[in-house]
């Protein structure tokens, strides 16, 4: 047992650290640091820089642009990327539809979609949840009926992140309405420009537009866009959800956010002293740091086990990472709210291009929206309640 990184691993870390902080423009990283929304162009630009180095899709098979990194390298890549506030790659492309197509898609699909997904030439979104199917995803009702060489899709998806940017959507659709609920589902790729698709924005409580409803009205999809076999879509969805789960804890990002809060609290004066000298505040910071350090070690333990893991099979330990990781992320937004104090109260735009000077300290504008927005991290991607159900069943045998 040696819990230190090898010299090779340290060299890789330093290389990644240097690359992320030099190749990705500071302006982009600043927006991530401040918790502001990125435009589509910014997201795409950042991913193309990574892809030019082959670092947009390291987890893909080598033949399709992957890196064959060790789990430790993947961990360091993620950690350094997050710590440098690099805009994350479009996860729908890189950790969701890409790996699914690479594993289960036809050769034609791989050739057509994978290079474009890696380079963000196509912007993907995910059509899983429906209004009646949240935690109980398999009860989804969007229908795809086979008519000749096509499927005709009718129904509605919800919580579709960044659908307004998307060129393509990968959907779970019901192809056999009489089968048991998990067994009649297929995995379909749909061009967002197809007639009959309507996207309606949902404004969230932080004022942002991240999610949407997507309506399908007699949408005609070529049958060649079916991934794998008909009615096997649930298996592919499980593969997708089980993939790439160590990054879910977002340890690197939380480290970076805590470091930022330390710096801000050193500037924010309470009475005659910086807030960081307030013992109560420091203890709260320390309490979160301890949990974060523990989570980092937990994550490394999971990473170390990755070697022996079956690819695509969900590791229930990732539910622990999700539970604790989301709690820590949310705690950090509360600390930022505390640093902002009463200057968290004014509502200030999250948009670029405003000419108005900030009200109060610069960072304060995003303190409350960040707190509001981050309530989602314990809801999306399998709510914490679902994670607990998974752990109770899969790990504890209850």
């Amino acid at each position: 047992m040696d819990l230190n990184f090898t010299p090779e691993e340290l060299a890789f870390r330093d290389e990644a650290r240097h690359f992320f902080r030099t190749a990705i423009p500071e302006a982009l990283r600043a927006k991530v640091r401040e918790g502001r929304s990125l435009t589509k162009e910014e997201i795409v630009a950042s991913q193309r820089i990574l892809n030019a180095r082959g670092w947009a899709t390291p987890n893909w098979p080598r033949a399709w642009g992957g890196q064959d990194w060790s789990p430790v390298q993947v961990y360091l890549y993620q950690d350094e990327m997050q710590r440098a506030f690099v805009p994350p790659t479009i996860s729908f492309n890189t950790t969701m539809v890409g790996p699914v197509i690479a594993e289960f898609g036809s050769d034609a699909q791989k050739t057509r979609f994978l290079p474009r997904a890696a380079n963000a030439d196509d912007f993907w979104c995910q059509g899983f949840s429906e209004p009646g199917s949240g935690s109980d995803l398999a009860s989804l009702r969007t229908r795809a009926e086979r008519r000749g060489d096509t499927y005709v899709v009718n129904g509605q998806k919800i919580w579709t992140t960044l659908a307004q940017y998307a060129d393509w959507i990968f959907c779970l659709v019901r192809t056999n309405p009489t089968a048991k609920k998990q067994e009649g589902i297929s995995f379909l790729l749909i061009d967002m420009k197809t007639p009959g698709i309507t996207v309606r924005p949902i404004v969230t409580i932080d004022g942002g537009r991240e999610v949407n409803e997507v309506f399908f009205d007699e949408v005609v999809v070529p049958a060649e866009n079916l991934v794998g076999q008909e009615n096997k879509g649930w298996d592919y969805a499980k593969f997708l959800l089980g993939n790439e789960r160590t990054g879910i804890a977002r340890v690197g990002m939380s480290k970076a956010r805590i470091a930022r809060i330390r710096a801000l609290a050193a500037q924010e004066i309470v009475g005659d002293r910086p807030l960081i000298e307030d013992r109560r505040f420091r203890e709260k910071l320390a309490a979160v740091e301890i949990e974060l350090k523990a989570l980092e070690m937990t994550q490394l333990r999971v990473v170390a086990e990755e070697r022996n893991r079956v690819r695509g099979k969900p590791n229930p330990a990732s539910s622990i990472l999700k539970l604790k990781g989301s709690w820590i992320q949310q705690q950090i937004t509360e600390l930022l709210l505390e640093v902002a104090g009463p200057y968290a109260i004014p509502a200030q735009g999250n948009e670029d291009g405003s000419n108005e000077p900030a009200i109060g300290p610069d960072f304060a504008a995003m303190a409350a929206p960040g707190y509001f927005n981050f309530r989602k991290v314990s809801i999306y991607g399998g709510s914490n309640e679902i994670q607990r159900n998974i752990i109770a069943k899969a790990i504890l045998g209850l």
Binding site: S129, G132, G134, S135, D136, S139, I158, W159, I202, V203, T204, I205, G207, V211, I269, V270, G271, D272, R280, K284, Q330, E334, L337, E338, A340, G341, P342, Y343, A344, I345, P346, A347, Q348, I359, G360, A368, P369, Y371, F372, R375, K376, S378, I379, Y380, S383, N384, E385, R388
Partner: protein, 384 residues
């Protein structure tokens, strides 16, 4: 000891609740927010008609002589409706300060107009670095003939964008955080040298930033020792905020229960899942504890012992902040995605609750204050 309302109090409660029910439906409120200034002036007039704007004022000024219980009843109903009117800044803070610190002529000039809805006030106390310390003031007041001129800047002035008269705290002497040397000054909204930048707050209310550059002002009462009266009126406002928060929390809890009973997943109402039931229970316990502390704040709001009153308000505000955060976060979590949207009511309550915690000191700030101020309980050993 008697928790029952008087007949008058019951009438007041009914009429406020009716107004909120009639005029503050979710879609109605959304429409008000879309208006210029983010609210419908007709509602302010309706508040005046119902006597709410003069409720805590003495009868000689057109008021009703209401006390903390009356304020509590109004504020809890306002909390349930997420009412947008600047009742707290104008009536509780502004009216309270004029009544407590003003001379007879000032009271006669301002309070009847306030009660009738013809005048709106705001209290400008906060500065860029002052956070929750009322004595942390750098705005300067210099005597100038019969009046004063003010120089400085004030921030997050609740209701400050539409107030006709601003009550500004400023120094006539002393250093930044000194208790002495503080005065209150009346500044007309159109006074020369006053710039204000109005804006919406995170919860849909309104506030303003002020800059004062040689701005003429009149002293509200004799300047110099205003900190005591500021503390007293802010304590009263905190009690009112606690009551409002109880309305907000109760609404979040009810909305969550409703959702648990109607939302179906895995073939049954999610409220049948025991883990969620127990969490709804813990929300209720937090709500009841908060309601109790809002009552305690109401009882203590008019105490003449500033130390005792300060301990009580710190305790109440801390409890409200903790219960509110717990209930708000759970309300969103138990709703799932829908709770995160502006289209659904629970998120609006959550935002208001969050801002209440940021007003006049968050839970931990008050906890720290109480920790320094001694025990909440008097020693039983004193007797016998």
């Amino acid at each position: 000891m008697d928790f029952d309302l008087t007949d008058e109090q019951r009438l007041l409660k009914d009429s406020v609740e009716r107004m909120v029910a009639d005029r503050y439906g979710f879609e109605q409120r959304r429409a008000y927010l879309a208006l210029p200034g983010g609210r419908d002036p007709a509602l302010w007039a309706q508040c005046a008609e119902l006597g709410l704007l003069g409720l805590p004022l003495a009868e000689e000024y057109g008021g009703f002589g209401g006390g903390p219980v009356e304020t509590m009843l109004v504020m809890e109903a306002f909390g349930r409706g997420l009412v947008l009117e600047p009742y707290l800044p104008s009536v509780i803070l502004g009216g309270g300060l004029v009544a407590a610190a003003g001379d007879a002529a000032q009271k006669r000039a301002i309070l009847p107009a306030l009660a009738a809805g013809r005048m709106q006030l705001a209290f400008a106390h906060l500065e860029r670095r002052s956070r929750y310390d009322l004595a942390d003031i750098t705005t300067i007041a210099r005597a100038d003939g019969a009046g004063f001129v003010l120089d400085g800047a004030k921030g997050v002035v609740l209701g400050g964008d539409t107030a006709d008269t601003l009550i500004v705290s400023a120094r006539i002497g002393g250093a930044r955080c000194d208790a002495d040397g503080i005065g209150l000054f009346l500044v007309a909204a159109d006074a020369p040298g006053l710039t204000r930048r109005g804006y919406a707050t995170q919860d849909g209310l309104r506030a303003a930033e002020l800059t004062l550059a040689g701005t003429p002002a009149t002293a509200l009462g004799a300047p110099g020792g205003a900190l005591g009266v500021m503390r007293r009126i802010v304590d009263r406002a905190m009690a009112a905020l606690c009551a409002e928060a109880v309305g907000v929390m109760a609404a979040m809890h009810e909305t969550t229960l409703e959702y648990l009973k109607t939302r179906k997943q895995f073939g049954r109402a999610i409220g049948e899942f025991q883990a969620l039931q127990h969490r709804a229970v813990d929300m209720l316990v937090a709500l009841e504890q908060a309601r109790s502390m809002a009552l305690f704040a109401t009882v203590m709001a008019e105490s003449d012992d500033p130390a005792e009153r300060g301990r009580a308000m710190a305790a109440a505000k801390a409890q409200i902040g903790r219960s509110g955060r717990h209930i708000g976060q759970e309300a969103i979590q138990l709703h799932g995605g829908i709770g995160m949207t502006m289209e659904y009511k629970v998120g609006h309550y959550f935002k208001r609750m969050t801002m209440i915690d940021q007003c006049f000191g968050d839970a931990d700030t008050h906890l720290a204050q109480l920790a320094d101020a001694g025990s909440l309980f008097e020693a039983a050993e004193a007797t016998g």
